[in-house]
Amino acid sequence: MISVNKLFKTYGKKTVVSDVGAHFPAHKLTSLIGPNGAGKTSLLMMIARLLEPTHGDIFLNGNSIFNIRPADYAKKVATLRQAPGFNLRLTVSELVAFGRFPYSRGVLTTEDYRVIDEAIEFLSLGTLRDAYLDEISGGQRQMAFLAMTIAQQTDCLLLDEPLNNLDIKHAVQIMSALRRLCDEQGRTVILVVHDLNFAANYSDHIVAMKEGRVHYSGSVENVVKKNCLQDLYELNFRIARSEQGYLCNYFKPSGELK
């Protein structure tokens, strides 16, 4: 389990994360939601140790993460960020193999190959194994990066907007894969996501942020509520709940919703 205590991040006079305390339950899928500039990505990057907090502490299973060596942390927590500047010509399987870097440092064992094959199989990327990353679609690329993160075999996965720029089919594929990682493999997944409907339908737990603070945090039923979301986004919401799940409707401004 990951917990965050009195966390601050400031740049000069600007505070992007302010007095944040939150719990991310183990073996569950937690979505970080909130408007742009809420500090979601900053919080995630601090948990990933890619950003130094100004104050506060972060705990992984009760130990401060800053006491863990970076090389060991890479075996406990894997991070997937968007990679717009990624320009290496690697094949899908070569990329996934780099997920084993924390363990093998380059020299792959048969165990490593087994994990790589498993990760590729898990996301049904078998047919793309030998395709170069710059020759496949954005959605397939994102799946390949996710496979690399899975191959890192960490208890916890952090993902920053993994659905960005994806079509709905790939978005559903990614979210169901994350769901299966929690349910079948007992991993802890934390992701920043903008699409409320994906957050509502695929998460166990939601942490909602606004202006650097946590406004709501809890199970999906407790956060995906009309008054919470309206407060968060300053939009009118209509939330329908059926056997197919949640549907948050915010597309028409006030009054036009019938």
Binding site: L80, F101, R105, G106
Partner: protein, 313 residues
């Protein structure tokens, strides 16, 4: 390792031994007649070794710099590294004329390393801008360093002898004057051991960090290896441009960027390309020679342009 590439490399090595102002036939080598043996051991073999090591070293340097800066158009000649090394030699020559080749190389090494660190710091600040902008900045930066060197040389009345290192030239490589080039062997060996780490560097700082790799330490090691190779090359043969840029890009098109797998291919291709440039330079106005800096600059420059147009596609 592709066999045809290896075969081409062997043929080029043989050709390089055969070509020269003094004609040399196969049977003379095997009969070990005095003259042929002398030419071979004093001039041709040292030259071949230097060519191969310089080609290997420069192409490996190029690809390491490209992974550190995450830009395919960076190499020692487009990042100020060569110019800094020349400035270092110049300062060594004027401040401590008696320091000798090894001392001069150390100066070149320190200057090259310092200038690479500055260049990487600049590039990291402008990381997400245009890819062609980075080598342009590198060329400008190199231009400034070069201008300082020229002004300094002019001031000390050694502008003429400075031309010697401006242009890569293998004709002065003879027994007893080239051995520093062997420093490239351990540098390239280490690069190969660290090939996977350099590939991870190429994925960017945050991805390297989340894979548990220390970015700063690995990048620093890479820059040291580059500085060793560049300074050893400049002190032995002078500046040879474009090899480090063209070869890694061509190899990446065909074999990808996974250095653990492609580094031997890059090394062999770099050596082959430099051998071709040198043989060409020795034959074009036989029995005189065109310095390899010119032929490599010409052939490499054209390939560079082709790559830019292909890259912009």
């Amino acid at each position: 390792m592709p066999l045809n590439l290896f075969a081409m490399f062997i043929v080029l090595c043989a050709a390089s031994l055969m070509v020269g102002a003094q004609s040399l036939a196969w049977y003379e080598i095997f009969s070990l007649s005095g003259d042929a043996w002398l030419i071979l051991t004093v001039s041709r073999l040292p030259r071949l070794v230097t060519l191969v090591l310089a080609g290997v070293g420069l192409s490996v340097c190029g690809v390491i710099l490209q992974h550190i800066t995450r830009n395919k158009f960076v190499e020692p000649a487009t990042s100020g590294g060569l110019d800094a090394a020349k400035l270092g030699i110049l300062i060594a020559l004027t401040m401590m004329p008696a320091i000798g080749a090894v001392g001069q190389m150390l100066f070149a090494l320190v200057f090259c390393l310092a200038s690479s660190l500055v260049f990487v710091a600049i590039v990291r600040r402008i990381q997400f801008s245009n890819t062609v902008l980075v080598p342009v900045i590198g060329l400008m930066y190199g231009g400034v360093l070069s201008a300082i060197a020229e002004f300094y040389a002019y001031h000390n009345n050694i502008l003429q002898s400075m031309q010697g290192w401006l242009l890569g030239d293998f004709s002065k490589v003879i027994e007893g004057r080239y051995e520093i080039i062997y420093l490239i062997v351990p540098a390239v060996g280490l690069s190969y051991l660290y090939a996977h780490r350099f590939t991870v560097l190429g994925m960017g700082e945050s991805m390297a960090a989340s894979l548990g790799l220390s970015y700063a330490a690995t990048a620093a090691l890479g820059l040291i290896l580059v500085a060793v190779t560049v300074s050893a090359t400049v002190i032995t043969v002078g500046a040879v441009p474009f090899i480090g840029l063209v070869i890694p890009s061509l190899v990446a098109l065909r074999y990808g960027d996974n250095l653990g797998r492609t580094l031997p291919i890059i090394a062999l291709s770099g050596a082959s390309m430099l051998l071709i440039c040198d043989i060409f330079g020795r034959l074009i106005m036989y029995p005189f020679e065109v310095p390899v800096g010119l032929t490599a600059g010409g052939i490499g420059g054209v390939l560079f342009l082709v790559l830019i147009f292909k890259g912009g596609r």
